[in-house]
């Protein structure tokens, strides 16, 4: 194991998050089992008092969880110089078999943590605990995933040996390489370009319609999820090519480096942020007209929709700027 400050920070964050989510999950199981707002029992009043404190603490923990994804990819990129053959985070993650599963778990937990924060935000604005069972049920679903992430993280960092020879991103994201990286890299560029712009345009149109008319929330949320997936695939398929100005370099990690103006961080932050806000809009739809939420969720959904539109537009603008001013052109 390499005693790098960022690794220690990531492990500490992961341990803290796991502890908090486990504790809150245990408490959440009691809420799901025994919560009865009509009861004035000692247990009910005790649950009401404690849920506010616990959800506040979990909120802060999950904000750390969100930030830890970026710290993780920064660390993976930063450590690549220690491993023979690694040119960027792609090589560092390939040092042992836990690297990529850990990255996937971190992305899944990022999306779920963002979703939980949105639901919790709505719930704490209501005076009648309208989403209390939903948010703790979601937390119970997140808990095992956070533990899996902790396991992968400990295994990955414990297995980092500086003398390991790893693969470079050129081979990992080559169109000839079997696997997800190779499959995404070999997606046909022109149809992907069309799908990318169509996905963003559809999200923008459905978002504006929902923002102004208050209708089509599910459609907008679905479109934002679809656009998120297409944009993530497009990053590897064709967007990276314009940054590297190379027809065969599909690595999604090299754009995190200084040579490319750290553009990767802006791209990933806008895409993930927009995706979470879009998903959150859809997740709140069933409670849009219920009780105290009728005055809270529509406004919150408007803000989330505006956030998705803004972040996706920013993502698209960065991509378009690069495409227009790059000397690279996709042929055929």
């Amino acid at each position: 194991m390499i005693l790098h400050p960022a690794i220690l920070a990531l492990l500490s964050t992961s341990l803290l998050t796991s502890f908090m989510v486990l504790y809150a999950g245990w408490y959440g199981a009691r809420i799901i089992r025994t919560w009865d707002i009509k009861s004035g029992s000692e247990l009910q009043l005790s649950l009401e008092r404690r849920t506010y404190l616990i959800s506040t603490l979990v909120s802060y923990t999950l904000v750390f969880q969100l930030l830890s994804l970026f710290l993780f990819i920064y660390t993976a990129d930063n450590l690549h110089t220690l491993f023979s053959g690694a040119m960027c985070a792609a090589g560092t993650l390939n040092v042992n078999r836990y690297g990529y599963p850990l990255l996937v778990m971190k992305i899944i937990n990022f999306l779920l943590a963002g979703l939980w924060l949105i639901i919790n935000h709505a719930d704490t604005r209501g005076y009648d605990y309208p989403l209390i069972k939903v948010k703790y049920a979601l937390l119970l679903a997140i808990a095992p995933l956070v533990l899996v992430e902790l396991f992968f993280q400990i295994s990955y960092f414990a297995g980092l040996e500086p003398d390991v020879i790893t693969s470079c991103c050129g081979s990992l994201f080559s169109i000839d390489k079997p696997g997800i990286g190779g499959d995404l890299a070999s997606l046909p560029s022109k149809p992907m370009v069309a799908a990318f712009y169509a996905g963003m345009a559809a999200t923008l149109a459905s978002g504006l319609y929902f923002y102004f008319k208050g209708k089509g929330g599910y459609l907008f949320s679905s479109m934002s999820c679809l656009a998120f997936s297409i944009a993530a695939a497009s990053l590897i398929s064709f967007i990276c090519l314009y940054f590297y100005e190379l027809p065969s370099h599909h690595c999604p990690f090299c754009i995190l480096q200084k040579e490319y103006g750290y553009a990767g961080y802006a791209l990933y932050a806008t895409l993930l942020g927009g995706g979470v806000a879009g998903m959150g809009t859809g997740a709140l739809m069933p409670w849009r007209n219920r009780g105290s939420m009728a005055h809270i969720i529509p406004h919150l959904q408007q803000r989330l929709t505006a956030t998705t539109i803004f972040l996706y537009l920013l993502f698209t603008l960065i991509v378009v700027y690069r495409i227009v001013f790059s000397s690279f052109r996709i042929s055929g």
Partner: protein, 242 residues
Amino acid sequence: MIELAHVTKSFNAGRSNQFTAVSDVSLAIRPGRVTVLKGPSGSGKTTLLTLIGCMARPTSGRIVLRGLRPACLATGNETGDVEITSLPERFLTGIRRTTFGFIFQHFNLVKGISVLENVMLPAYPIGVNHRVFRNKALGLLELFNISRHASAPIDWLSGGEMQRVAIARSLINDPHVIIADEPTAHLDTRLSREFMEIIGSFKGEGKTILIASHDPIVFESPLADAVVEMRDGGITGKTDEP
């Protein structure tokens, strides 16, 4: 109407030094009337007032304010009822500011600032125009005949004057309910009777008044519509005029 259903308040619950200050109290406080909680020291009167006034939460039981839903809890289709024991703190703050006016036994006036500023203090978080609530505070000081002390520091006032400032302060946000905890404990007989006259004027305005006191001037007053006797945290008797 304020309804209490099986309200219990225990301190240090679950520990060896657990103390139950209010035990299984069920009570209906009718609107526009003067209700007096009567009982010896330690009978749970003050604790019950703090629970009703949203300054503490019960250990069990529910308290419902019927027809007193504040604007901060508006949903558009409300019945006017609000159950306060389940509310998160942020909503309780809004209710305390707008629904209740408090008169404390020791007045709890802020030293170092003027009489006028003390009266205006609870109105600042409401967001009303400063000039409007300043004029209102001056009007209240005029009403209680202490306007000549408006700019004086609170420390310069006598006990009776301080209480009138406390009463003026309790009215600045025009609350529906006035809660007074042992309001005559530090007053002589003349000032106590004067206080009850002021209470009579509140009653005339339709305000609900809730007083905790073991002073006969208060609980034997003809103004008291209901007298609830308390001992050891429980209700031992109640007289209620129709």
